[in-house]
Symmetry: none
Subunit: 198 residues, 4 copies
Amino acid sequence: MARRVKEEPSIHRKRISEAAEKLFIRQGIEKTTVSQIAELAGYSKATIYVYFENKEEIISYLVLHSMELIKKQILSSTDDTYSDEENFMGVCNSLLKYNKKYPMYFQFLQDTINVDFSSEKYYQSEKDTYMIGEEIHTYLTKLFNLKDDTFITVFTVWSSICGVIQMTAKKAKYIKKQTGLSETDFIQAEFRRLFKML
Amino acid sequence: MARRVKEEPSIHRKRISEAAEKLFIRQGIEKTTVSQIAELAGYSKATIYVYFENKEEIISYLVLHSMELIKKQILSSTDDTYSDEENFMGVCNSLLKYNKKYPMYFQFLQDTINVDFSSEKYYQSEKDTYMIGEEIHTYLTKLFNLKDDTFITVFTVWSSICGVIQMTAKKAKYIKKQTGLSETDFIQAEFRRLFKML
Amino acid sequence: MARRVKEEPSIHRKRISEAAEKLFIRQGIEKTTVSQIAELAGYSKATIYVYFENKEEIISYLVLHSMELIKKQILSSTDDTYSDEENFMGVCNSLLKYNKKYPMYFQFLQDTINVDFSSEKYYQSEKDTYMIGEEIHTYLTKLFNLKDDTFITVFTVWSSICGVIQMTAKKAKYIKKQTGLSETDFIQAEFRRLFKML
Amino acid sequence: MARRVKEEPSIHRKRISEAAEKLFIRQGIEKTTVSQIAELAGYSKATIYVYFENKEEIISYLVLHSMELIKKQILSSTDDTYSDEENFMGVCNSLLKYNKKYPMYFQFLQDTINVDFSSEKYYQSEKDTYMIGEEIHTYLTKLFNLKDDTFITVFTVWSSICGVIQMTAKKAKYIKKQTGLSETDFIQAEFRRLFKML
DNA sequence: GATGAATGAGTGTTCATTCAT
DNA sequence: CATGAATGAACACTCATTCAT
């Protein structure tokens, strides 16, 4: 599992990762083989290993992609001029939408991120991912205009939203059985409750 | 993949599942092979299949085990006579402790649970797991003496706590870097913040 | 694969072999497990090995059974007072019926039979099977009142009938495609042709 | 069990199938493992799966091979200019020789052949096998200059020859015991008898 | 006499990865 | 640069058979 810094994404990396993405979403990461990725990307299997060290690095690359998407999503659904509640719901629904579209990437959001960039063994993607996470965090802090305990508050709220989205998605059937509410209705209610708590 | 109700755990099932548990925690479920489980449990591989239908059933058995543990944990750290905050922190720290000890089981908490028990294809363990989940839920409802919107509130809070614990555990390094706080200190602060929100 | 002479079939051997027979017919020999036989026969797996040395001996026992059936079948469908053609068709249709009912046993008819009974390593069943074959042969010889070259004629005709039945059964689809005739119609025509040849 | 048409036999397919052939003859198809085939062919087990979809396809490939051999054998031992008896004996002895050399393939001759080529799920080999069978059939029809009932006659005779060869081979010991004749002598006598019947 | 318990020895198949060309 | 070819290492699961009790 040797990790080294690699030159930045060429057109090939993009093409390969896009193929991988489609397959990951369609059938899950574990069940997607490098062969399938190669075929869909229009390369030979061996060529994949020219542009990515291994399957893991492809995943890493896509984690970055997912972070970029979330950021975009959040930026486009929030605004200085909106009310706090509108903004809060904007963030929530960005994440929700994201989880619906890329349920598997959502997991990544809550996954460990390599922060020890002093070592030389990391993928460039990991560094980039980290930085985008930072940007989102900074953006949210400003958005909610929090004065003190900024970090912890943003972190806690963010974590709670993620927790609620994840749990609700997984237990949808159970919720339906207990409350009769659809997943969609239930989660909006949860978001509102969460906002009131703030 | 025939699933049928099976007679309850014998001493062998216990021994095997304990071996599986150790390995699952140490190296993850996917990477643990039935051979390894057999070896550690002191049985031959074939014998494993005498006591469990397949690997999946071992997992299912352990999910139940994990639910039982959480329940015990929560019961022993909360009480009618405590203040609301004490109880809240009790629940939080139960889950936290649990996640520290069995990080992999914690995932199970947020995992889909088979609820369609009308079908005949499920393991007894799955049904049992569901029921313990119900018991915890009922207990928490009473504990916090919530009058209306009970279900949604308990669910939201529970999800938030899980989200916070999970995210904090995964991003511990990042948090340290940003705030200088240890994971332990940071998460206690998060719990308190969460309580204030209620 | 040690073979030793064994004491004659008790009631248990009968019960076990009957279970095996049902399963062999239903799902083939290879796909039938000793466990299944034991279960259907109402014994424990280990008990099977008390009454039969191994799976092979069960098969051997059933081969004998099949021989007995064929003999009965032939005896009941031929008679001194019938015409030669009637008798010939009787034999043919006995074998045909037999093949339809126990396609898998039919193979046995054309299988090697242990004739070296001087050695001590054979199953009693094998000896018995051999003797019934002899009886059938003797019966047919008398039936067709052949004077010279008896053995070879009976053997050749018998073999031809078997060959025709087997090939026709296996190539039924092909025959349908080529001639438009059903397997039943086609094989009766073959039998008649065979008789004319005699 | 996806079956698709594959590109034609390379040198590897030949090498692998030749190894498989030896093992199949020596110990039977069922008892031959893919590992053994790989070892004897000088490849790694995984490589076998590069050139054949699965074990079944190897068998299918060899069935074709066997059909080609029989055809050659028959063509080289019969001729327009020979007498009918010479030709008949030629066909018989072709099949006999073939059975001696590849007893296990001989079984294939009497086995079901996939005729439903409208479906897309078959191996190219299976189609080819079918076509060679057709060619043999056509050739024999012309050879014996049969006018009417051609199909049924050729089919019946062919089946009878196969039946006689198979039965005689399996019961050689028994025949020796009963007639004192060697298998070789006995079967030639059978062939002659068969010819006289025509 | 009957069996519960245990297992050795496979079995076909998959897949990420390497490397000579 | 790109890849065809090859494979090591697994992996979940099966089953006939044994033997102490």
